[in-house]
Structure formats: C-alpha cells, structure tokens
C-alpha cells in the first residue's frame, strides 16, 4: 500500500482517480489545486504525486518545482496527467517521472502508477 497525493481541480477526475487507486489498496489524499497539494505533500511525504497541469493558484509544473526544490521531498516520483500540456511535462523530465495524456484509461493509469511505485 502506498500513500498517493492527487492534485486535480476537476472534481470528477479527482474522485474517479481516487476511487481507482483506493480500490488498489492505496491511501489517497486529494487537493483541488497546487497550493493545497503542496501542503498535503509536506504533511504526508507520499510515495507518489499525481498532478494535473492547469489548476488554480499553482500549476502542476510549479508544484513539481516546489517539490524538487525541497530536499526532503525531492525524490518523490511525480506523474503528470494532462490534456494539453503533456508535451511541457516531457520537456521537463527532471520534474516529472512520467506523463500520461488525458483522456487515459484505467489500465494505462495503473501501469504507470505501478512502475513509479516499484522504481
């Protein structure tokens, strides 16, 4: 079982993602924007962060930069899930360990999560 923080402003996607991961036995914490997600990351030191790109207050890229800049959090794997900014994520491999383009299916998500948690 792993602790996973989700940063996603769209509640339907956030709820769906959380349900999938909880069904796999993971403990999930969700935040509707980057600022709230960063607080969760600092509080829970998760095994994985899954983040959207476009969000209020703090983008997924800014969230990743904050995490990488904090030595106590810098090694947490980050998965970017995005509909339009996937390429920005791929251009920043030092920030994102993997990128999943929206819309994605359950299998692709679980494979990506499994790989990042096992690495």
């Amino acid at each position: 079982m792993a602790i996973i923080v989700i940063a996603e402003d769209e509640f339907l996607l956030a709820d769906l993602l959380a349900s999938f991961l909880e069904d796999e036995g993971h403990e999930v914490r969700s935040a509707p924007h980057g600022v709230a997600a960063l607080k969760l990351v600092r509080a829970h030191k998760p095994d994985l962060v899954i983040t959207d790109f476009m969000m209020p207050l703090m983008t997924g890229l800014e969230l990743a930069q904050e995490i990488r800049a904090d030595l106590t959090l810098a090694n947490i794997p980050i998965l970017l899930v995005s509909g339009a900014q996937g390429d920005i994520g791929r251009d920043h491999p030092q920030m994102f360990n993997a990128v999943l383009d929206k819309p994605y299916d359950q299998t692709a998500l679980l494979i990506a999560v499994g790989r990042l948690l096992s690495s």
Binding site: L13, P32, F53, M54, M55, L57, A84
Partner: protein, 473 residues
C-alpha cells in the same frame, strides 16, 4: 474589447466594454460555451490573458474534444494564453467566498484581462439567499474591474430581469434556439448594455465550423445609411437597345428599379443585359437565388447578350445563393460586403423573393428592404431587382405591396400578352422617380443580338390584362 465574433461587436455597439461584466444566458445547447470559448481564443490570439473558470461536471478534456472540431480552437493556446481551471471543489467544500478569493488570486496570477465564469447556476444553487448571490457577483465583478478584467458569467437558466444577477452586471446577452415551422432558428438578444448603445431586438446567429457568426438585423444596423446619399441626375445605360429612350435617358444613377412579371417574361434577361454593360469603372454583380453562374452565362450566350466578355474581364461578379435555408440578414450582409469590396455600380437582385423566403418574421420585410435600398442608394449603386408575378396571363396583377413599391424609385412591368394567337412580351414603365418617361406599351423582343425594345405595341385594348384585342374601329 473586440469580441472576435463576426457581427457581435456591431450588436453590442462596438464590442464589450473593458472591465465590464456580462451575463450570457441560454438553455443548454443554445451556444453559450462555444460563444465564450470563441471570445476567449480570439482574445488570446490578440495577446490577452484569459482565465476560463468552470463549475461544471463536464471535464476540460471533453470540452477540448468538442471544441477541437471548430476552426478557432488552437491547442497551443491552452495554458499559454488561456488557462482553464475548475473551482467546483472549492465551491463544494469551502463556499462562495472561497471561490471569490480564489478568483482574485488567480486573476492576478494569470494577469487575466478576460475572465469567463462558466456555471453561474451552480454558484446560485450554493447561495442561501439572494443577498449571497448579489454579494458573490458584486465581489467577482468589482475585483475584476479593479484590474481592468472583463467578465462573462455563463448560465443555463433564464434569469428574470429583476434577478439579483441581472441587477448587478453591466450587460446581459441572451441566446435562443427555437423552432420556426420545421426550421431551427438561433437568435441573440442584448437585454441590457451599460456603457454602449447596443442594437435592440433579436439578431439571428449561426454556429458553423467557424464558430458563432451573428447577423445584425439590417434595419437596426443601418437605421440610417452608413454614408450620406448624394443625389445624381446622371443616367446609366440600361444595356437594352431602345429601353433608355423609354426611360428618359437610361436608369437614374443610384436608383432602385423593380422589374416585375411572370416567369418567362424576361426579367432575368433584362438584368443580364443591364450587367453586360458593366465596365472597369462600373463593375456589376448579379446576386441571385435561382440559376448558377454557369447557367446564367449560358443563358446570356443563347440570347446573344455579351455577358461572358464582361465576366471574363472581371467586371461582372455572379453570386449564387441557393434558395435553401438562408438567413435574411446574412444574405444582406454578404450582398453589401461584396458591393463595397468590388465597388459595384450595377447590381441585379434576382429576385427579392429570395430574401422574403429566408425571412422567419415577414412583417419586418418592409423595414428590411428600406434599409437595404437606402444603403444601396447611398453607395451609389444602380440596382435592378426582380419580382415574380404569380399569374402567367389574365387580368390579375399581384404586385409587391404598396409599402415595398413606394420605397422603390422605378417600376417596370413585364407581361406576356396574347395577341393574334401569339404571346408577346410587353414592357410598361409604371414609374421613374422624378423624371419624364414614356407611358406607352412596348414590345420586348429577343433576337440573336440580345434584347431589344423597338416599336410601340400596335394599338390594342387590354394589353396590361394579358389578353389583348383589337380596338373598336
């Protein structure tokens, strides 16, 4: 602020007022989301920063998939020019005041000068009292106005004029999609507009591959012609041998002539002859609903009318608008745009009924034609329009109504008259405004070298009824 939506700036009286707030309302499917996104993408293309905030269940990915089929959608703008964010969770978990706070921070962070708030109904549902709604709208718009940000609140409910939201905002735009007979008609109306003089009433709009296009009602848009009408006493050769003499020297320049008669009486042929005299200094256009350009050219060839030469030389433009589902004001807009663009001086409209058929509210046609003809006169265009009479022969003459006839400068009637077991085409000039003209009846003949009006009709009785007989000796 330029809306980026064809026709909408004119309806709004010059576009959106910078820093003002508007409600865009309409039932689901009315076109609000497409309209707002088109405005957002146009703004981003013009260098604006746009914040698009949703409170809806539809995911942004799904929204992008549906918008992706439209020409204005540009994926490269997502996150770079337009930021799409959802604040539903903030509303659900923390309430309206948290949303206001989040919007303030986000507007500042993005440097947004356009904020689209899609889902005002959800915010309304979260409010406990009307005061809460008022406070929410007031706070969002005042903090946006403070940084010069224009706000569009989208809502799928039809808010009453005295709703708290309406009383607070600067403008209200309503979108409708209703049935007119078997036809679906989209209409837009600006119900409120502070700081600009908008065009009143309904204006039809379409949603196509290009997005939304609004067609301002012509009589509202051109309540007065765009430029002053300069009266000219000059005459324009009609292109028909013998006709100029009857008209008193040709068609008065900058006038509107209605040629009416039954099918086959020679209306279109007369129009083609008029256009064959087009030149570089007097470009011509046929704005037609029935025959394709190629058929018109073939028809002119067959009648010996040298239209093809003027067409090949680029002096005549043939515009064909099939008589299918048209929008009256779109047709008029296309016509006037081409007239201005090409500098048209000789215009044939074949036939005025094409506008009538497209109209979903016929009582306005008198005002519509008044605006159209006034503008054509102001632009110095000499227009020949046709009107088809229902009966081929017989005493009844169903002419355009007096309201329409009186706004036309010249009236010419064509009839097919039975004489000595033969049908002859007879032309009668009923009116030439402010000029002398021949009131005699003349025969219109079709020869190998085009149309010709040679001799007055031999003395008969009852020619205008369609059945002539020899006069009593």
């Amino acid at each position: 602020m330029d809306s980026g939506v064809p026709g909408l700036n004119e309806v709004l009286g010059g576009g959106f007022v910078e820093g003002a707030s508007y409600i865009v309302q309409g039932h689901p499917g009315a076109g609000k989301t497409i309209l707002a996104n088109q405005i957002a993408f146009a703004g981003a293309a013009a260098g604006r920063k746009v914040l698009y905030v949703t409170l809806l269940a539809e995911t942004h990915t799904r929204l992008f998939q549906s918008l992706g089929t439209l020409d204005f959608f540009d994926q490269s703008r997502l996150g770079a020019g337009i930021a799409y964010v959802s604040v539903f969770q903030t509303l659900r978990d923390e309430g309206l005041s948290a949303v206001v706070s989040l919007l303030r921070h986000e507007t500042k962070r993005q440097g947004a000068t356009l904020l689209v708030f899609d889902g005002l109904l959800n915010a309304r549902d979260r409010a406990e009292t009307d005061i809460d709604v008022k406070t929410f709208v007031a706070e969002v718009q005042s903090q946006a106005a403070f940084v010069g940000c224009t706000v569009l609140f989208l809502t799928s409910t039809r808010l009453a004029d005295d709703s708290p939201e309406h009383t607070m905002v600067d403008g209200v735009i309503e979108l409708n999609d209703e049935l007119s007979g078997v036809r679906s008609v989209r209409r837009l109306r600006v119900r409120k507009s502070r700081g600009s003089v908008s065009l009143n009433g309904f204006h039809q709009f379409e949603i196509t591959q290009k997005g939304v296009s609004v067609y301002p009602r012509l009589e509202a848009l051109l309540a007065s012609p765009s430029i002053l009408d300069r009266f000219s006493s000059e005459r324009m050769p009609s292109g028909v041998e013998g006709w100029d003499e009857i008209l008193g020297g040709g068609l008065p320049q900058g006038s509107v002539t209605l040629v009416f008669g039954p099918s086959g009486s020679g209306k279109t042929s007369l129009g083609l002859s008029f256009l064959s005299a087009a030149s570089t200094s007097e470009p011509g256009m046929l704005f037609g609903f029935y025959e394709t350009p190629e058929r018109l050219l073939a028809k002119a060839d067959a009648l010996g009318i040298n239209l093809r030469a003027a067409h090949t030389a680029g002096n005549v433009y043939l515009a064909w608008h099939p008589l299918t589902e048209n929008v009256t004001d779109k047709l008029a807009g296309d016509l006037l745009e081409k007239v201005r663009q090409l500098g048209v001086k000789r215009l044939v409209i074949d036939a005025l009924a094409g506008f009538e058929r497209a109209s979903v509210y016929k009582p306005r046609l008198v005002e519509f034609f008044a605006a159209l003809t006034n503008e054509l006169r102001a632009l110095g265009v000499t227009t020949l329009a046709t009107w088809e009479m229902q009966d081929f022969a017989g005493p009844s003459v169903v002419a355009p109504g007096p309201d329409i006839s009186s706004m036309l400068d010249n009236l010419v009637m064509l009839r097919q008259v039975e004489m000595n077991s033969q049908l002859k085409r007879v032309v009668t000039v009923l009116k030439v405004r402010d000029a002398r003209y021949s009131t005699q009846l003349f025969e219109l003949s079709f020869g190998n070298r085009g149309l010709k009006i040679a001799l007055p009709l031999q003395p008969v009785v009852g020619a205008t009824t369609g059945i002539a007989s020899s006069p009593e000796p």
